[in-house]
Structures are given as structure tokens and as C-alpha cells.
């Protein structure tokens, strides 16, 4: 491709070039400035939010002394761990089935797998609420499931949307891999399982881990679906914080927010770095 040569025509000249630069910088400021301000004000030694009154870590200490916050963190962590593990297994299997095989009904499955990603939160939330209302009777038949407990409803619904996100990430990785390695393994008399464990899995691992981290983030960040299915006393952190946020701005909310945002951003960054480690390979092609 003559991309390198032609690229110079893509770059506008003179004034509009500076306009483009300035605009791009402006958008990044727009992305990050509110977050920076939020961080700064979480260290503000004042009950009023708008005026700077000196530095303090007090709001972070208050955060760790707050029993409600502590217990909701636990709910979040439990839901997140269980839902991520299940979603990773199911999402990876789904990705492999779609990417490496041709079977009847594949197209329909593919379409349904995309839906949880584009469906608005509220609709998903309503679906889960209605479903658990109606299906409570016969879901109790499944051993080990007790719907009185909000925890299981949270896990079940988080898995429902996280499967899709995991499988999208894993599929992106699979699509970039050559299936010939697996075929070579099969030629060398490896059975399907051995070929998967020794050849496919190590190769898609960055995608699986990237997808898992993404699932963790989405599970921790989800508010709408969780607030519809969680039981009183068993709310995850995001739902608890949403309740606080709606009442208004307070320094304690700021510090909780910063902790949540930092966790979320760190996970996203890790996910991007790990799953995009394949990016360099792609460029070589």
C-alpha cells in the first residue's frame, strides 16, 4: 500500500492544520478535565464542594470507616468474581464455536450474542426484573440457586451481558490467528482437547485475559441492571454510590467516586494493554 506516500495529502496545511490540532487537544481536555477536577476536590478539606480549603485525606479515611460502603464493596467483589469466571468460560466457548466452526443456526446465535452489548441498560434491567419475578418459581428448582438472595440474581444478570463482551474480545483475537497451527496439531495426532489446551488457548490467552478484565470492569461499574435486581441490604457499591450521588454533591461521594474511577481506569488500561499486545502482530501483516 502506498499509504506512507499518500499520507501527506491527508494532512491539511496551514491554518486548518492548527485548527485540527487545537481541536483534538480540546477534546482530550474535555475528556479528562472533569475527572481531574473530581480528583482534586476529593482532597478538599471542606464540607462545601466548590471552594478549595486545603489538602486532607480525611474523606478517604471516612470512606474506610463507613460500614455501608465496606459491605457494598464486598457484594460488588463477590458478584464480580463469580460473574466474570462464568462469563469468561461461556464467552470464550461461544467465540470459538463461532470463529472456528460452521454450523446450523450460527448466524442467529451471532446476532443474539451482539444484542446485550447494544441494548440500552434500562431495557436489560427491566428484562431481568420481569424475568426474576415470573420465573422465580421454576428457577428455584435448579439446585444451588436461591433467588431470595439478591446475590445470585446479580451474578446471573451480569453473566448475561458479560458473555457478549468477553466473546467480542476473544473473537477479535481469534480472527487474527491463523487456524493452521491448530490444524498442524491435529495432523500430529493431537485430539481436540489437546490441540485446544496446547495450541489455541496459549495463543488466545491475551484475548481471554483482556476480556476477563473488561468483564470485571463492566460488572463493577454496572448501575442500572444491578439496581433493578439487587435485594435490600445486598446492594453492590455502584448502586449504593448511585443512591448517594442522586442526593447531591458531597466530599465523601467524591472520594468514593475517585476510588471507583481509579479502579475502573486501571482495569481498562490493563485490559487494553494485554489484549492489544497482538496489535503489533497485526500491523506486520
Amino acid at each position: 500500500m502506498s499509504k506512507g506516500v499518500a499520507k501527506s495529502t491527508a494532512e491539511p496545511q496551514g491554518f486548518s492544520r492548527w485548527l485540527l490540532r487545537g481541536h483534538s487537544l480540546g477534546v482530550f481536555v474535555f475528556f479528562y478535565a472533569p475527572i481531574v477536577v473530581l480528583c482534586i476536590f476529593s482532597f478538599n478539606d471542606s464540607n462545601a464542594v466548590g471552594n478549595w480549603n486545603g489538602f486532607t485525606l480525611g474523606w478517604y479515611e471516612a470512606l474506610f470507616d463507613n460500614d455501608n460502603i465496606q459491605s457494598s464493596i464486598w457484594v460488588s467483589v463477590k458478584v464480580c468474581v463469580f460473574s466474570t469466571v462464568i462469563a469468561v468460560v461461556l464467552g470464550t466457548a461461544g467465540a470459538l464455536a463461532l470463529e472456528r466452526f460452521r454450523w446450523w443456526g450460527q448466524k442467529a446465535f451471532d446476532a443474539v450474542l451482539y444484542l446485550p452489548i447494544i441494548i440500552p441498560d434500562v431495557t436489560m434491567a427491566v428484562m431481568m426484573l420481569v424475568f426474576f419475578n415470573e420465573a422465580a418459581g421454576w428457577l428455584d428448582w435448579i439446585p444451588g440457586i436461591d433467588l431470595q438472595d439478591g446475590l445470585e440474581k446479580l451474578v446471573l444478570s451480569h453473566v448475561a451481558f458479560n458473555i457478549s463482551f468477553v466473546s467480542v474480545v476473544v473473537r477479535a483475537r481469534l480472527a487474527n490467528l491463523d487456524a493452521s497451527m491448530e490444524e498442524a496439531a491435529a495432523d500430529l495426532y493431537a485430539n481436540r482437547w489437546q490441540a485446544f489446551r496446547r495450541v489455541t488457548l496459549p495463543q488466545i490467552m491475551p484475548g481471554v485475559i483482556g476480556g476477563a478484565l473488561l468483564a470485571v470492569t463492566i460488572s463493577l461499574d454496572d448501575v442500572v441492571v444491578s439496581s433493578f435486581v439487587s435485594a435490600v441490604g445486598g446492594t453492590p457499591l455502584s448502586v449504593f454510590v448511585f443512591g448517594m450521588l442522586r442526593k447531591g454533591v458531597s466530599p465523601l461521594v467524591n472520594s468514593v467516586s475517585v476510588v471507583m474511577l481509579a479502579a475502573s481506569m486501571a482495569l481498562v488500561l490493563a485490559s487494553l494493554v494485554i489484549s492489544r499486545a497482538s496489535g503489533s502482530e497485526r500491523e506486520e501483516r
Binding site: A6, V37, W104, V122, V130, A160, L245
Partner: protein
């Protein structure tokens, strides 16, 4: 599928499962293909069952609810199916919320497009290193906590917040936009802007720039080269990005809840209200079905226009 050795003679070992070997007999080949299809289906089966149980069936229940009967105590019962809930959609209150949602979603989408296009263009003309860094810079807000990012604006827009103070300082008058429709639109733009940048970038990055060069060689001005070459070629990204911003904005709930107070609710807020406060399952479900229909139409438009994945 290129590794399939054509030199392999029959009886050399187990039949190769993959690929379409030319030496294999058609019968064996079909058998192997069928076996492989079966394996693929079995591998996907647990996921299919899960999504059927916890996604497709719930979806079916919402549709069923929208035709169901509401008892006087506020319970929804799945009997005497009727269209009452859909008739209620014509009510003034619902129509007001629907128009407001449509209007805000359209405005937010347009603003996102105007902000995102130059940025996506700029990113895709950078060197690979800079490009990747900038992409990560866009992707972090794309995936990280939406609720908190929205709340950050609440802090800025609060009556003694920085933006408000800045407005008064510069003398732009009253900067209090919190709890107005402008604040909600600002929140939607802030929340969903990355959703616009990424597909636009993907589309612009794919453009073969020698076409632009060709246009310039034929004495097209920079502007007309853009309008006649770059813009049409980037249209799949424009459509994908617009859908990714429009759909969640249309059914937004969190943004109006935090930045709009109680009076600027969108369809998402209305659905929540129906389920959690008014206890009117059928009407809430009917509105959800409408939101879903809008989403499906938008997605179909996207795939029709040549988009392959979101």
C-alpha cells in the same frame, strides 16, 4: 486451512477433520464436515442455553408484559392480553418524554459527530505510536465508569462549582445549567463521545489515501477532496458512531437522573418510574419495547449500510 497435506494417502492415519482436501472422497468429507459442525454446535451449546434462559426468555417476558393486564393492586398478570399499554403511549406525558428523548438524542448525536470527526481524522493521520497512545486515551473513558464520569460534571456544574464560577467570572451571566436540558445534553455528549470517535477512526483509518491524492492531482481543492472522497468513504463510521450514541441516549436513565434533576427525564427514566414507582408493568414494558424497536431499526440500518461489526 492451507496446511491440509495433499500428499497424504488414504489409510495414512485418521482422516483430517479440517479443510477441504481434494483427495478425500466426497462421502468422507461430508461426514467430517458434519462431525465438525456438530462439535461446533456442542461447544457453543452451554452459551446458547445460557443466553436463551437469561436473555431471550427475559426479552420475551417484557414483550408479553406489554400486552398483559395490570390488576388494581399494581400487579401485572399474564392473562387477557390487550393493547391498553400501547394505547397509553399516545398520552401527553409519554409523548412529551418521547419527543424530548428524541430531540436530546439527536442533538447529542450531532454534537458528538461534530466533535469526534476532526479528532478521529487527526488520530488516523498520526504515526502508529502516537495513534495508539491517542486511541488508548479515547478508550479509557470509553470503558471506564460511566456513572462517576457523569457525576464529575455534577461537581463542575453545581451552584458553587467551577464552571458556574467561571461563567460568572468571565461575565457570561448565569452559568447555572444544572438540572436543565442543556446539562443533560452535555452529560450525554460527554458520556458517549468515545462511542463516536472509535468507529469513525476505524472508518477513516481504512481509507486509501492515494484516492485523495488522485483527487488533488485532478485539481480538487482540499475541501472538495474531503467532501467528495473522504466523507463518502467514512460514512460507515459516521453511521455506526451515530447509532452507538443515539441508541443509549434515547433510552438514557443515569445521565438525566444525575444532571437533569427530576424534570428532564428521558424514556429510560420513564421506564424506571413505571416499574419502580408507578408499579405499572405493562406501560413500562410497552415503552421498553418501543426503545428496543428503535434500537433494532438502527442496527438494521447499520448492517444494511455495509457495517459488519460494532
Amino acid at each position: 486451512m492451507a496446511v491440509d497435506a495433499p500428499t497424504r494417502s488414504p489409510g495414512d492415519g485418521p482422516p483430517v477433520l479440517e479443510g477441504t482436501s481434494e483427495v478425500a472422497t466426497p462421502g468422507l468429507e461430508r461426514e467430517a464436515e458434519r462431525a465438525k459442525a456438530r462439535q461446533g454446535f456442542l461447544l457453543g451449546l452451554p452459551t446458547i442455553v445460557y443466553l436463551l434462559l437469561f436473555f431471550v426468555i427475559p426479552l420475551g417476558f417484557v414483550v408479553a408484559y406489554s400486552f398483559a393486564t395490570r390488576t388494581r393492586s399494581g400487579r401485572t398478570e399474564l392473562r387477557d392480553f390487550n393493547l391498553d399499554a400501547y394505547a397509553r403511549l399516545g398520552d401527553d406525558i409519554v409523548m412529551t418524554v418521547a419527543w424530548r428523548s428524541l430531540w436530546m438524542a439527536v442533538v447529542a448525536t450531532l454534537i458528538c459527530l461534530v466533535l469526534a470527526y476532526p479528532l478521529a481524522y487527526y488520530i488516523s493521520t498520526r504515526s502508529p505510536m502516537v495513534r495508539n497512545l491517542m486511541l488508548v486515551g479515547v478508550m479509557i473513558p470509553f470503558w471506564s465508569n460511566f456513572l462517576i464520569r457523569t457525576y464529575a460534571w455534577r461537581v463542575l456544574l453545581d451552584s458553587d462549582g467551577l464552571v458556574t464560577q467561571a461563567f460568572e467570572f468571565i461575565g457570561l451571566g448565569d452559568g447555572r445549567i444544572l438540572f436543565t436540558s442543556n446539562a443533560v445534553i452535555l452529560g450525554l455528549v460527554y458520556g458517549y463521545l468515545p462511542f463516536m470517535v472509535l468507529p469513525l477512526y476505524a472508518a477513516i483509518e481504512r481509507i486509501d489515501w492515494s484516492l485523495v491524492e488522485g483527487a488533488r492531482d485532478l485539481y480538487a481543492s482540499g475541501w472538495s477532496a474531503f467532501r467528495r472522497v473522504v466523507w463518502p468513504l467514512s460514512r460507515p463510521g459516521v453511521i455506526a458512531g451515530s447509532i452507538l450514541v443515539f441508541v443509549p441516549s434515547f433510552g438514557a436513565y443515569v445521565t438525566p437522573a444525575i444532571l437533569g434533576g427530576n424534570k428532564e427525564g428521558l424514556l429510560g427514566s420513564y421506564i424506571v418510574l413505571q416499574f419502580l414507582s408507578a408499579r405499572n408493568g405493562p406501560v413500562g414494558s410497552a415503552v421498553s419495547v418501543v426503545v428496543l424497536a428503535v434500537m433494532l431499526v438502527a442496527t438494521l440500518v447499520y448492517f444494511r449500510s455495509g457495517g459488519k461489526n460494532l
